[in-house]
């Protein structure tokens, strides 16, 4: 755990050093945003997982540290599959941040490997025309495997507080990393549709569905591990931030 702390300290230093001086004569422009976009219980016919997806940032207008973690934890067996990213982020265009940093994967239980995997991450985070939140990233693992991910989400306001969140995620890999269930080529896609009600801006319970399907070599790897090719979950959860 010590190396992430060192990395975090270095990044924090970078952010503080790179921040413009305090705006006006007031407080320093240092802020934080900790958001659980998803914290939910999934209903499927299998492992009824707890899913989480957290994105947080710390910093000013131009330079930020991002921490992202997502994963799922089975409620019927000790399986856990998750990842965390620690990124330095810089505003490079009005709606876009450039992000660079590290990602660590963790897989436990009966999965293909309980070994950790580290990646270098280079990505973007921003808002595309039509208000799509878009997050493309490229990952290079410590063994040189290259993969990429595209995620996009949308907030569709039905009323001022009732909001539909469609989401889409796609993973591709150049090399296969079989111990991690990653085949080469097109890996999987995930589609989500969640209907939330903002009791407050920061607090919205939701219901929805989430569907995930593997492709190509990844299907075979999933089957070998005794997992289905696709997974449909009903989800109930809470989106909140502070």
């Amino acid at each position: 755990m010590s190396s992430p702390i060192v990395v975090a300290s270095l990044m924090a230093g970078l952010v503080l050093w790179g921040s413009p001086a305090a705006a006006d004569m007031g407080e320093p422009p240092f802020n934080h945003f900790v958001q659980f976009e998803e914290l939910e219980y999934g209903f499927n016919n299998e492992n009824n997982p707890l899913n989480w997806d957290n994105t947080s940032w710390f910093g000013g207008d131009w330079n930020r540290i991002w921490f992202k973690t997502e994963g799922e934890m089975s409620t019927v067996d000790p399986d856990l599959e998750g990842e965390a990213q620690l990124l330095y982020s810089r505003l490079i265009a009005p709606f876009w941040e450039f992000q660079i940093g590290l990602r660590g994967d963790l897989v436990t239980g009966d999965g293909p490997s309980t070994e950790g995997r580290g990646h270098l991450v280079v990505g973007l985070e921003g808002l595309a025309p039509l208000w799509f939140e878009v997050e493309p990233a490229i990952f290079v693992s410590h063994r040189g495997d290259v993969s990429a991910r595209l995620r996009t989400t949308y907030d569709l306001f039905i009323t001022q507080r009732l909001i539909v969140h469609p989401s889409f995620e796609m993973n591709v890999a150049i090399q296969s990393a079989q111990e991690f269930g990653v085949g080469s080529g097109f890996n999987d896609i995930e589609l989500g549709l969640r209907l939330g009600y903002q009791i407050a801006r920061e607090f919205a319970p939701y219901l929805g569905i989430s569907w995930n399907r593997a492709f190509a070599e990844t299907v075979r790897l999933r089957q070998a591990a005794g997992r289905p090719e696709s997974d449909l979950q009903g989800v109930a959860g809470l989106r909140f931030w502070f």
């Binding site: 006006d24 709606f95 039509l130």
Partner: protein, 624 residues
């Protein structure tokens, strides 16, 4: 927490301002008055402003538990109340204002619109070092003007928590407008949240306080007005630009209680009159982040002063008062009661009071109008059919001599194609304004006719959009106004009451773009947020300079310059009105001229408190 403020009769009548007649000679009257009896632990709001006058005035800034809208709140107060006392001065007098800081942080007071030496202007870091906790700072200056002004803290976000109050300066010559009574009406916004929390919320999520956005549920209503494809097309155009047409105000009634002289709408501030009297109302917008649209249904208002400076009388039914502006009107009420109705520009709330013949008469409170939407005109889209004035005689430009020629759009109409959902309703406001301009010689109009085409500089990542074409909008009352069948004041109707004898030539034009990135709540000039290490905007004393402001954002910004009045270009040459704060509408090109007279470093900023804090601030330095 919820002690209700009792019925008005409970409160002592402290109507110092009820009559101009009482305004003679009293020294230090009510200087240390700290308000009324308390209900529980809460000091309820005062029913009337407290006056402070004389040659020496003491102001004490402290945290006080006050009642606002019947709820207890901790405010930073001046002499115990929100707003602070009304400082009444006389033109030509010398005044000492002793400001004692009982807070545990630095504070300051800036005299908004007053011509004072730079070291008395009250901006920490520019004029002085601020007023430390437990210390007293003495402001000393000669009062060189008359009119309605105000004062407020220039430290952090203290203005939002209550450090503001009115200033009224009686003229040394008799006032040309006789009024039997006068009332000062301070409009403001109050939040029970910590203002730094408000700012942090906006930084995390620019639309945090907007509960009036376009939704799927109201697509039907819009379709009725614009047609289904029109409404959908308009929404798509905004979404493509990642802009929100309902983003009229950053901070809204979702957190704000709007106050009139410190009283919430239900508490109903009341001013009395006798039928047949002529009443002068001195409106001051002391809000941190709210523009108000003010009207008194059933009563025409004669505008006689803007930003403390006399203007040729103009009659109107409604006016938009930008943050930090002041406007004096005369009214001649004849009925028993009238409602003074001040809607927030985004219609998310209102302030309200009553003018009545006694303590009981009431008038109907009108409903708030629907929330307006910005139009493509506010985006500065290049529409050939937009301003009718663009087709006017361009030959007159050469006489203008203000630059900007190269940026002109002679090809009006070249790439027209109005958006299907476009709302031309605002155009109606143009006609009334244009009426006042007919007499202006063509050369005076030069700056109003400029169509400034934006160059390739997008002002960096701190700025989300540019106005493709910016132009003057002084003939337009602003978004959401001008469609109700009554008159609405526009800048183009304002004429200085006493035309200046000559206008010496402008030697230099300084162009600044108003920029911002709503998603991250970054605000700036030319895309650069203020940083104390930034070079000042340098002027030489005696230099006559034109400022051209181009608003590249979709929001209106009240831009204020300290230490001077400027001649706002409304196309009237020597009769252009003098102002200290100008509302620059979205995609507007605003032009004003002033002669740098006071040596020193002066603040120049957006008076939206949170925009200033987010970086929309510069320093203008006048060198000897």
């Amino acid at each position: 927490m919820n002690d209700r403020v009792g019925s008005p009769v409970q409160w002592p009548r402290r109507r110092f301002l009820a009559s101009v007649a009482t305004a003679t000679g009293g020294i230090a009257l009510g200087r240390f008055v700290t308000g009324c009896a308390t209900v529980g632990s809460v000091t309820p709001a005062r029913r009337a402003l407290v006056a402070a006058r004389g040659e020496t005035i003491d102001l004490r800034i402290a945290e006080t538990r006050v009642g606002i809208a019947g709820r207890g709140a901790v405010a930073t107060t001046i002499n115990g109340g929100v707003p602070g006392p009304e400082i009444r001065l006389r033109e030509g007098q010398d005044v000492v204002l002793r400001v004692n800081n009982a807070l545990d942080e630095d504070t300051s007071i800036h005299w908004h619109g007053l011509l004072v030496p730079a070291d008395m202007d009250g901006v920490p870091g520019l004029s002085f070092h601020g007023i430390g906790p437990g210390t007293t700072f003495e402001y000393r200056f000669r009062v060189r003007q008359s009119g309605t002004y105000w004062y407020h803290s220039h430290s952090g976000l203290q203005e939002q928590t209550g450090i503001y109050g009115p200033i009224v300066i009686e003229p040394s010559e008799p006032d040309p407008y006789e009024a039997q009574r006068e009332y000062t009406i301070v409009l403001s916004d109050w939040t029970f949240e910590d203002p730094y929390r408000v700012l942090a919320n906006l930084k995390r999520y620019g639309g945090y306080y907007n509960y009036q956005r376009r939704t799927l549920a109201d697509l039907g209503d819009e379709a009725k007005r614009m047609g289904f494809w029109g409404a959908l097309g308009d929404r798509l155009s905004w979404a493509r630009m990642r802009m929100d047409a309902s983003d009229i105000s950053d901070v809204t009634g979702a957190t704000y209680t709007f106050l009139m002289n410190g009283l919430a709408p239900d508490e109903n501030w009341r001013g009395l009159f006798r039928p047949g009297e002529r009443v002068r109302l001195r409106f001051i917008n002391a809000s941190a982040a709210t523009y108000f649209d003010v009207r008194i249904p059933g009563l025409a208002m004669q505008v006689i002063q803007a930003d403390g400076m006399p203007v040729a009388p103009v009659e109107t039914d409604e006016f938009r008062i930008a943050i930090a502006e002041t406007l004096d009107v005369l009214v001649e009420p004849t009925r028993n009661a009238y409602t003074i109705f001040a809607e927030a520009m985004d219609r998310s709330g209102h302030a309200r009071g009553t003018l009545a013949i006694d303590e009981t008469a009431t008038a109907r409170v009108p409903g708030r109008r629907p929330r307006p939407l910005l139009t493509m005109a506010d985006m500065g889209m290049d529409h050939g059919d937009m301003p009718a004035v663009s087709s006017m005689d361009h030959g007159s430009m050469s006489g203008g001599g203000s630059g900007g020629m190269s940026g002109m759009d002679h090809g009006a109409g070249s790439s027209g194609g109005a958006m299907p959902g476009m709302d031309h309703g605002n155009m109606s406001g143009m006609e009334q304004g244009a009426g006042g301009m007919e007499m202006a010689p063509a050369a005076c109009r030069a700056n109003l006719d400029v169509m400034d085409r934006h160059d390739d500089d997008g002002h960096g990542a701190g700025n989300a959009m540019v106005a493709e074409v910016a132009r003057s909008r002084v003939t337009e009352p602003g978004v959401g106004l001008g469609e109700d069948g009554w008159r609405v004041l526009t800048y183009s109707q304002l004429r200085s009451a006493t035309p200046r004898s000559s206008n010496s030539p402008v030697t230099r034009t300084i162009e600044l773009h108003l920029t911002g990135n709503m998603e991250r709540f970054m605000w700036s000039f030319d895309g650069e947020q203020y940083d104390p290490d930034m070079p000042d905007i340098e002027l030489r004393r005696g230099e006559r300079v034109r400022f051209v402001l181009i608003n590249d954002t979709m929001m209106a910004h009240p831009i204020h310059i300290h230490g001077t009045f400027f001649e706002l270009d409304v196309g009237a040459c020597e009769s252009n009105p003098l102002k200290h704060t100008v509302n620059v509408q979205p995609a507007e090109r605003t032009s004003f001229v002033f002669t740098a007279e006071e040596v020193g470093r002066w603040a120049f900023h957006c008076h939206m408190l949170y925009h200033m804090e987010a970086g929309m601030f510069r320093v203008v330095r006048v060198r000897p």
